[in-house]
Symmetry: D3
Subunit: 340 residues, 6 copies
């Protein structure tokens, strides 16, 4: 997906210029992990035109392997396969950020079971971890089927499977999300969501949350997660980010992770200044996965996830622009004092 954003805090309707960024749920996680030196690949379907090449160039710059990307021919008119777009503006004060999707009829939404040879990809235990999530499943019925196909193949070939619930009301209804996702969870090992995802995508309520989610009760989330793991005992890890929106530029940010019967709350970032909040959840995912793959403790892993998510929100664009050393510095409580 290419994101087009007005500079500063300008508005989509009134800007003369848009900044362009590549991004996407799985993409952002793969991008960050490749930056940090892990061998990482990304499977998708792109159009063979300059917009598809824009994403390819950006993906490659991180070092991620894009050799499994399927290239759809460009029909010249944009009627057949398109590159997904979104127009995102960054809010301030009482005005929140806004994302406008233009992701109908995309090449990836036309991906269907059988297009990718998942068993070849996961064979021989070459892949240790497979990550996907709810936005992909929501793109189309065939994408939901591919999600199931790929998760199953990964699971059966011994890869850890993580799944970011990532509810998007514009792409599907909560009811349809629940219907699709419940079917996937039994093959998932690591389940991740934010303050609203578990309810909207799996149907688990959190007690004590008001509609505007201005205050998020940690205990309520814990009880909800306990219900989730009772329902899906295959889950070894359940991570959830908690974002309280103080204003357009200031959020409270933290995460909590359930792992093998215990809860690990992250460092809490109160009054975190946010340059661009998009991608924070993916930043959490990639930090958590990095920690777990590197053999860190659950506490360190959730702390790295939260720190990386906080740092990702300090730059414009959906993808991580920090180094793993910077994430570790913040994870350990390091200050924002100048480095020179």
């Amino acid at each position: 997906m290419i994101r087009l954003s007005p500079p500063g805090h300008q508005r989509i309707e009134l800007t003369p210029v848009f900044e362009a960024y590549a991004g996407g749920g799985e993409y952002n996680v793969a991008y960050a992990l490749a930056r940090y030196g892990l061998r990482t690949g990304w499977v998708s379907r792109l159009v063979d035109n300059p917009l598809g090449h824009f994403i390819r160039n950006h993906a490659k710059s991180s070092g991620m392997d894009v050799s499994e990307v399927i290239w759809a021919p460009f029909d010249g008119s944009g009627r057949a396969d398109r590159i997904g777009l979104n127009f995102t503006e960054v809010g301030i004060g009482v005005r929140g950020s806004v994302t406008l999707y233009d992701r109908g009829h995309t090449a990836i939404s036309h991906l269907k079971p059988g297009d990718v040879d998942w068993n070849r990809i996961f064979s021989g235990r070459r892949v240790r971890w497979f990550h996907t999530g709810g936005i992909f499943s929501a793109l189309s019925d065939s994408c939901a089927a591919v999600a199931e196909e790929s998760i199953r193949a990964a699971h059966e070939n011994g890869a850890v499977v993580s799944y970011d619930l990532n509810f998007r009301s514009k792409l599907w209804s909560s009811a349809r999300a629940i219907e699709v996702t419940r079917n996937l969870v039994p093959a998932i090992d690591v389940l991740i969501g934010n303050e609203e995802d578990f309810q909207k995508v799996l149907g688990f309520e959190v007690d004590g949350v008001d509609e505007s989610m201005s205050r998020l009760p940690v205990d309520g989330y814990k009880r909800m997660v306990e219900k989730v793991v009772r329902a899906y005992p295959n889950l070894s890890i359940v991570g959830t980010t908690l974002r309280e929106v103080v204003s357009g530029l200031v959020n409270n940010w933290s995460a909590i992770t359930y792992c093998d019967g215990a809860f690990y709350p992250s460092r809490r970032y109160a009054n975190l200044e946010v340059e661009d909040r998009v991608g924070g959840g993916d930043g959490f995912c990639s930090g958590l996965i990095y920690g777990l793959l590197r053999g860190m403790s659950p506490q360190d892993s959730v702390d790295l996830g939260a720190a990386h998510g906080a740092l990702l929100q300090s730059t414009r664009g959906d993808t991580s622009m920090v180094t793993i050393d910077e994430a570790l510095h913040v994870m350990k409580g390091g200050s924002a004092r100048i480095k020179r």
Copy 2:
């Protein structure tokens, strides 16, 4: 008026580049109301050159009717009628925003009684509401006379007349402002001002305000307004915005409106992040007028005014860049959580 502003927080003296915006007291109110779908016109006098066309294009883009604008010929040298300019920089931290006026000898300052046929414009009750204010009156003696002429015509033709006191010490003295304005108030229905206007433009003191206006006592304002309506019983509504400046980027923002004997305080926006504070008062006016014209309650109207004023300050430039739906969302206490 065209505003020229350095990008970001750069300074007029040292910037290589200026952003250009159209704006002005009445202009901003008309612009917002036209955006929100009300039939709106704007009467002014512009120079027939590219700078005048700059304003015309921007005005038209909102849908406001500019057919009553008087076009002064351009003499080529800028000695006769000019387009008013201001150079405005946006402060941060301990450095406040600065506006540098360059609005002498403008086409509008040369407007004189008789130039506009106000009775034709207001005839037949075609116009429900007429809004002007203290900056226009301050531009020149002939403008002050036109203010009186237009207010009277509007009043006599049955339009509601609102007037934003909007004191500008650079344009006239407090003494002259009081002399002119006291004469106008008897034909005004809705009087609007900010934390300092009532004193500087009408001579009513507020108790308990220090010079830097860092804390604004609501009770003091109420007592002051009570004095105002005793002096001018024709006033049905008196609105006042209250801005406490925490820093260049953070203000406390609220409003309070007197209506038919009662006070309606708005929601208070504590620690409101401000992208650009210019136009906040006009945002309040236009929100309030919209509410009243749409038949909202006084409480809802002042809340809409304050919300709209808060939102207007979330973008660069003097004019509103939000939608009425966004203003209603904030008015109802809606959060700044991302919309996607």
Copy 3:
């Protein structure tokens, strides 16, 4: 349609930023004529989201009437009605400009006969001139049907009908274009095309043109036009622009118009520097139409069209940014010496 363009001569694939412009065939003509003070309306179908509002704001800024635009609701996902996009980069040297269409599934492509009450619009001879063209017809079968419906209604209500052939190979085949267009011409009064349109859209060959169209023989075009008017004797005017591409930045530019049995060649602009060649044909159309509507001679009208087309290519974006006085200055052979 919104056009997104890299600044300068940067490439779509590698730019960090896109400039945004509104444009479109009929749109550009309506925009220019409204700028020049003619009462002008534009009928289209837009999505009710910030991208649709972007176009609306720009349209209104020229003064054109958009009250007949149909607003399609936004489904939030971009799967239903979309705003058409194109990504256009400006070439230089041996590298030509490139336009990448992303205009499938647009709100306008879903317009169908009956959606617009053309007879009401054209009734009472309120509309003197109706202009549409081949890009609109190419968008979808229903658009082709609407083209026929609207042209017929205009013709029957006494409006002059002009049609810009505007072949786009990415949107339909030459065969399909010919099939659709031959059906429309009998109700058209003024037919306009460029160096390749008559062949691709109507099937009339031009003798002596090589594949790269580096040299365009005026005599060949005349003979071709003579064949066209023999085939469609209802045509009173046939205009054709002739562009020889010297390089990315330099074109030879002229036009020739047939009118009532005679040919009127325009002033020829040899080695014309081109800031952005997109919209040149629309600039020709609008200049020609302006001239004819204002009662200019055929020679002056074609000269105004060519001059306006040349000037339109001196700015970025598809729409005219000049004044009618500037177009008249160039039409009369005026120099590019500084005006101060």
Copy 4:
């Protein structure tokens, strides 16, 4: 004067942003000569506000002495002394550059005889050369009087006096220019003009020039200059630049200088690419003056003037951005091959 210019080839009416430059006739000459290491001062009257400081900072950066600048207090409203502005856009193709003056009521236009102690400044033969010109004289009657006062003082104190005729039709009529200037010439040593100045400011016709000045006959200019020096035998040098406008971006550029009875034509720059043609004449003046002050021959001096004028037009803004070594390189016929 501050110049505000749209980037690239955008238009004043439609640009969202303006680039800011300091400039002015005498200012540009002083700026260049200070850059090249000559001890140079500039006398003017500026407003003591950020716009005045903008000019001061830029002036000082070249090293020119601004200690004789008179600082007018800022009244806060822009009604009294203003900083002169101009809005200048850069044309391309058939569209010429446009300058829009906003220089009425400026601090400098209010300068009057007696404000500056010219005799102190020129005393003791401290000043070898004094340069002023027709734009300053045109600003107001009092400026014309100051021009006379200063020229006389310079002349009487033994400074060489140069004067650039620089006709501006927007600032005064040709008749008034002639009336004022004829009075000044007897105290002038070096008289400079462009292709139209001698006619408009002194009343000397050039034979063989058409209205659009597309071809400038060198012989005609020579005969005209001969008439000038017959009329004003005090003139030791008469320089004239000759600009033929091929297009917005391409000019033919040269100069010819009369010196002590002989003519010295400069190298001719055919098809010179012009980034911004404003200031070319001042570039010629400063190059010529530099050459003469450094003791170069008349031929070298005119060649340096023309080369410097050509180079000045290779950058945006009115002031020279090259080095004296670069000017000497071009003066000697040096190529535009990359230096690395």
Copy 5:
């Protein structure tokens, strides 16, 4: 030194564009004092190429005298004398600002004793104050020797000597800094440092400071300063800035100055918004020096220093962009309310 910075909060590694600023420890102090009207000179060694000229132009724009700058010839390859560069990005949230030095092999680092005739410069008590500091001393052994040479010459010629400790761990070790600096202090009158400098450059510990310096105990600093003045009784003034880093954009900022046996704490700026924190210490120095040179009291001087440091951090770049009036306004507790 030229600083290259990504716009906004972008990162060095990923930005397509860098903003350029001139700066440096002594440079920033000289620049500010020249802006405020003091006669100020700056002694350095620059390369005679466009990068050196970049610094020269900026320096001159403030009015500072650069006639004592030594110009090293440019060898064309960058192998010999270079202009020092740094790449600095501005952090936000949990991400601090980062400066990357590229200042090896610079022209200034090759300055050696005897290159500058300090005794001539300071002779005749023409210079009232001499300021240098620890960054210069750290550049090379020969710079350390020049620091000693210049301080001694200034001291012996009766100039007040101020020295900003300014520790940079990337340029030398704490041990080497202590070794060099202890030798310099006996000739210094005014010693300035920040929260960590006294320890790193002179070896004096502060009690009660944790490693991240999130809370700075004023009493600890006082006791440390008392130890310093006991060790170096020649010091008449010891100033220290205290910065507590709340986040990338928000710092607590204050200063405390010891003067003749008493401590003068400045106004404390809690939650100061910081546009760019670089140069804050130099802003303190220049404000303090200005106050002392103008004969202000120690309290006013430290308050001016802290106010000026706070204001300097409200703009991008290392140098002061405010006026002395603005600094005095903030020093007196003035608000950030808009000035218009």
Copy 6:
């Protein structure tokens, strides 16, 4: 190397902003060939800091393999290994482009024989082609030694060796270049140079070339190349680009290649508009190598080289931003007509 360039035609000395590009002789060739789908690697030595990462990211985005890059640790001060920089401005008109090198003390200049295991890299005939050139050899004596070491290893392992003479007078003298290069040629298969390289780097004169190289006689080049291949009979191919500088923006551009006893002149691009001429020679090399590796004829290969070089000069930055299809289109004489 990172290149920092003022936007447009601004000057290094006076720009507020620099655009950043990665580039370098071998780098540009590897980048282009990787873009076109060949398996390509680049061997270099970079500093492990954000500037090194800037180059790494850009390199990876093309797909080139950077796993053989040696990462020098960053010392924090820039005194040890640096990233090479150059400041390059783009000329116009009579002002040529200027490149200012800041490439002393770079990590790559410290590369020495033995640092890279060339035999491992070239072993097993895994590498078909090895390209390096004169800029690398000129960086330092140890680089010259590495050039010899690598060329020998490539040659002995059966790779085709190409070498771009690329003389840079700022990096070494002609005498030293000849001394080093003569030693290398016997192991080289494909020798490439521009209009001056053969003389400066190998000592072969071309008859009939004047100093400014405004007209380049093809026959003279042929005779010179004949002498070269007589002296070095091992050379199978000698390519030379011929650039005649018409102006800053317009060059005549062509190439001629000797292959196995015959000469193949390329299509000649007269009056080629040049957006940025840097990298043109590398564009020729990469096009030629691509052709030869793909089995094209010598004529097609030189035509592809010249076309690719022409296209590379249509974008800012040193690296190719076109596609192989675009290069083939131009190679076949394709026009610059818009593609849409």
